[in-house]
């Protein structure tokens, strides 16, 4: 038996990451204190019961030096073909200007690195940076707030529709050594403005990667945000993302999260509905194979009356994969006339895949309509038989049904190029791997 | 029986009834017609005591009592029956159980003894025939999963059970095919006698082929703008509501 003394992974991480704080120094040290206080979540932590991020970090990383430069000459292979967008590329946590280009006019949108925005004391940064991120409750959020390396700042002025989408690419190059990356986004969409943001993460190399995101999205009165996240890392990546979206009155939100690959993926999506007449749609799809574990923890917090939220997450698990879903709906006192719906549907393909799901309603107002439904099962045998009786081979019939099951979550996506791209990704995956 | 004088009502900030005058005597059938949004359903709702509507003026006398002072259940117990345009569903409560509770509370109000199970079932069987409703339907949860026609038939069945003095049929014909319409109308006609009265609220003349009114009133912008006999309904059918609208604007 091993007699090793229990490691204090939190301290090891802090020691390895400590670096000259280049910006927001005071906030960083506050966050560091919170990180120390929280410590990394152990296996008994209710929110990380099925998702052993801490153990993964202990087992697969040496916490010594983690400042490996990436070496990527072209981003073309990682982009969405034909998508005419503003492109921002971060390689191993650092902004890469040569791979990036901003095509929208400055009158429509401000896009800079976060460190630049902090240096120039942008009003929106002063007001919102670190305001909603869950530093008090999630150790990884606090860790990011203390140690983030670089990020992207997006600002859309009042009543401005941004024509071209914003494409943010996180690339990790682990060809030469393990990589630890901490990146961040702050986006402020002012009153009545509209923007679409696509965020994608990819990686190359055989070494392990730990990528810790934190994101703050401020959607002001009557603004409209489309936000799509694509996780398609082929490498050995462990990714934790904390996304907080704050919605003011009459704002509209569409989010879509697609998880295809990676070792250990944990997404915390926290939506604060802090105004009346808001609309919020959040969709997710996880198509898992191999040993991937994907965990989507979502919270929608209705703080004000008369808003609507609708959540639909679907998963297909094959191989030894694990799907974890946890969806919380809070309806606070006085948030009357809230309509909140949630659905989580899972299909398990192989006999070694598993799913753990916990939909959760917490309601403190009486005049509301809230529901959740979740299922776990296989393909409908009746439908399968029907297709086969029309002459379709079993494998094709299965792929067709799985595709139909999965593609439903793409419906709310507006951008045709994006939709076609996602559609292809899904169809490809289902043909190849299931 | 019913005497409405200068009745005005609003919902929220919106004034809907602007001074309705209407007198209904025992034995009579009155039809209230009018274009969408003229206040027909509001009138029915105010008479039955829906709390969303605020009465801002006027008075309603029902058999010597100030109707507007009464709670909705006391109005029902005094003999007002509303056949709803959209009857609600109550899961887990059978129509039978529902009717038994209602009938016995009304009887108690009137100082009558509660019906025992046997006499209640007898009464029910008798009334079921009137609207050709099947008992299996009445054993099910109230209106849950009923078709539009079944719901309306259930309304008329309840009307037969409670034997109201004044029945208000709110758009009872909406969503009914011709056969269902005939069954429902037939039930209403069988229940008519010289001691009770009926107010039929409808958009179309069609229902009045089956339930023949003594008087027809046209409601427009919250006021009765024209009254007449059943011929008025036919005239409306032929000329449409625009004719009334232009007449009102000219006047």
């Amino acid at each position: 038996m091993s007699t090793s003394v229990a490691r204090d992974i939190t301290s090891e991480i802090i020691d390895s990451l400590r670096q000259p704080f280049n910006a927001a120094i005071e906030q960083r040290s506050q966050a560091l204190e919170q990180f120390k206080k929280l410590g990394l979540p152990g296996s008994r932590h209710e929110e990380y019961r099925f998702t052993p991020v801490t153990r993964y970090l202990e087992k697969n990383f040496s916490w010594t030096k983690n400042d490996i430069e990436g070496n990527i000459a072209s981003a073309v292979g990682f982009l969405i073909p034909q998508l005419d967008a503003n492109v921002l590329v971060l390689v191993n946590g650092k902004f890469n200007a040569s791979l990036s280009k901003v095509i929208s006019p400055a009158s429509e949108i401000t896009i800079t690195t976060l460190s630049e925005a902090i240096r120039s004391q942008h009003v929106a940064v002063n007001e919102y940076f670190n305001k909603f991120v869950s530093n008090e409750s999630d150790a990884f959020a606090a860790m990011n707030s203390a140690f983030w390396q670089e990020g992207i700042f997006v600002h859309v002025p009042e009543n401005t529709p941004v024509e071209k989408p914003v494409f943010i690419l996180h690339l990790n190059d682990a060809t030469s050594a393990q990589v630890v990356t901490q990146t961040r986004i702050l986006a402020v969409i002012e009153k009545g403005a509209t923007v679409s943001v696509i965020e994608k993460s990819d990686s190359i190399g055989e070494n392990t990667i730990f990528h810790n995101f934190a994101e703050e999205w401020i959607v002001k009165e009557g603004a409209h945000l489309e936000y799509c996240k694509i996780q398609n890392d082929s490498g050995k990546i462990c990714q934790v993302s904390n996304s907080v979206i704050h919605q003011s009155a009459a704002s509209k939100l569409n989010t879509f999260t697609l998880t295809l690959d990676g070792q250990l993926i944990r997404n915390n999506l926290h939506i604060l509905i802090d105004g009346e007449q808001c609309e919020s749609h959040f969709y997710g799809l996880y198509l898992l194979t191999g040993n991937t574990l994907a965990d989507n923890h979502t919270v929608v917090d209705h703080k004000k009356p008369n808003s609507f939220s609708n959540e639909m997450y679907k998963g297909i698990m094959d191989g030894n994969s694990k799907g974890v879903f946890n969806g919380k709906i809070y309806v606070r006192p006085h948030a009357q006339k809230t309509n909140a719906f949630q659905s989580n549907r899972n299909i398990i393909i192989s006999d070694t895949a598993t799913v753990n799901t916990k939909p959760q309603l917490e309601i403190w107002a009486d005049d509301v309509k809230c529901s959740h439904g979740c299922t776990s099962g296989q393909l409908d045998e009746g439908a399968l038989f029907y297709l086969r009786s029309r002459g379709i081979a079993e494998a094709n019939a299965k792929a067709m049904l799985l595709y139909a099951f999965a593609a439903e979550v793409l419906e709310p996506i507006q951008n045709h190029t994006l939709k076609a791209y996602l559609d292809n990704l899904i169809a490809d995956r289902l043909q190849k791997n299931f | 029986m019913l005497n409405i004088k200068n009745l005005q009502a609003k919902i929220g900030e919106k004034q809907i009834l602007n001074g309705i005058d209407l007198k209904v005597n025992a034995g009579e059938v009155h039809a209230i017609m009018g274009p969408n949004g003229s206040g027909k359903s509001t009138l029915a709702s105010v008479l039955s005591g829906r709390e969303e509507y605020e009465v801002t003026g006027g008075e309603v006398d029902f058999l010597g009592k100030d109707l507007l002072e009464l709670s909705p259940e006391d109005r029902a117990r005094e003999g007002i029956f509303m056949a709803f345009q959209y009857p609600v569903e109550i899961p887990g409560v059978s129509t039978i159980n529902f009717m038994k509770t209602a009938l016995n509370q009304i009887r108690e109000y009137r100082g009558q003894q509660a019906l025992d199970a046997v006499s209640f079932l007898q009464l029910m069987k008798e009334k079921m025939k009137l609207v050709a409703i099947d008992q299996s339907l009445l054993n099910r949860s109230l209106n849950e999963g009923f078709s539009g026609g079944e719901k309306k038939r259930n309304e008329i069945f309840q009307m037969a059970m409670l034997e109201p003095k004044l029945a208000i049929l709110d758009e009872t014909d909406s969503g009914l095919d011709i056969d269902a319409l005939r069954i429902v109308a037939n039930g209403v006609n069988k229940l008519r006698n010289k001691n009770n009265a009926t107010i039929v609220v409808t958009h179309y003349q069609r229902l009045l082929d089956y339930i023949v009114p003594d008087y027809v009133h046209v409601l427009y912008k919250g006021k009765i703008v024209k009254s007449g006999t059943k011929e008025l309904a036919l005239e409306l059918e032929a000329k449409g509501y625009d004719w009334i609208k232009s007449e009102v604007t000219v006047a």
């Binding site: 398990i348 006999d351 309601i363 009486d366 509301v368 959740h372 439904g373 776990s376 | 609600v88 409560v93």
Partner: protein, 481 residues
Amino acid sequence: MSKGNQVLEEITSKEYEHGWTVNLETDEAPKGLNEDIVRFISAKKNEPEWLLEWRLKSFRQWQKMTEPKWPNVTYPVINYQDIIYYSAPKQKVKPNSLDEVDPELIKTFEKLGISLTEQKRLTGVAVDAVIDSVSVATTFKEKLSELGIIFCSFSEAVKEHPELVKKYLGSVVPMSDNYFAALNSAVFSDGSFCYIPKGVRCPMELSTYFRINAANTGQFERTLIVADEGSYVSYLEGCTAPMRDENQLHAAVVELYAMKGAEIKYSTVQNWYPGDKEGKGGIYNFVTKRGLCAGDHSKISWTQVETGSAITWKYPSCILKGDYSVGEFYSVAVTNNYQQADTGTKMIHIGKNTRSRIVSKGISAGKSQNSYRGQVHVMKRATNARNHSQCDSLLMGDQCGAHTFPYIDVENNSARIEHEATTSKIGEDQIFYCLQRGIDEESAVALIVNGYAKEVLNQLPMEFAVEAQKLLALTLEGSVG
């Protein structure tokens, strides 16, 4: 609807009906808990050595454990040294027939509406009455014993059927299962025991009535039901307690053991004193109930109507070990004023082709908090497991809360699991519809709530269903805001 509030006021100001105490001479242990108290209880009951050892082991386990903090309830710290762990109505000798039972006791049960005498013979319910932890009388014993059915107090079972008790005690709820189960295992004073032999269908409902009477007393009863192969039993449990200002602790354990082809139906109408309108007093109801479907084709069905207690913490569960075994959980939990309930079930699918069904109807009013917490776990080898769960919450007024915490864990790809939950309030249009038919608001709410809970109430045996409906109406009529 201001009228609704007014009706709510009237209803919630109704007094708790069962809130009287009886002057029974009691035989009590001193306050507090230590090994000597455990020995005292065991000695009082003339228990064999093995049982004392089992208790002491449990006590030592309990000392190492901490009170669970995860339920969605809050209450002041319980001082376990301030509780009396044993209180028995004084009786000179154990009664041989009902004629010898203390007439005060008989009166107590008559006030509760439980006659231990002839009346029950007519309704065909055999009753074991437990007052302040001690079983005082059991009816119909002879008639049942003709069929080989054992139905008696737990202490009697220890004496008369030690081999059965020894074999099954703690077999479903191990002593160290949880904090309150360990506490119960150390200090349980009595309860009911029931054994149905092979192939026997118990011809009558078996029933236990629990009552806490003495002040500062905790009640820790233990129920053990063993259904041998192919047998059937339906068991009812009811409970009341007097009104007292301080909180009282109730930590019971119920174990059900179903062998091949056996079926156990366990129904509870829980009406412990809920505390007053300001939330003062009331019972802390921390109960561990679990059934083991040990044999193939066995079935365990829990039905509960929870209207009482200041705090309820209870998850009647089924371990579906036998192939083709079936677990069911039907629950109505009503909370009003300052009551808090965290209740639900666990369905653990281990065997193949196991099925489970969950129907939970929560109703919260006043300033209460009502949580459903449940787990459906399909283990790796539980091929073709099926579960359907329906969890509905109804809120009355804007100061209460309804919470749903379902855990669904699936490790087998052939499982089909469906979970649905809704939260709503009583529709104003539903109430108006009733009013328009001449039904007053109180009756309308009672009608709608009973309709809402009907799927669960239907599972109760007739006599209980009527009582349950009355209880629902009493706590909630008209409480729509």
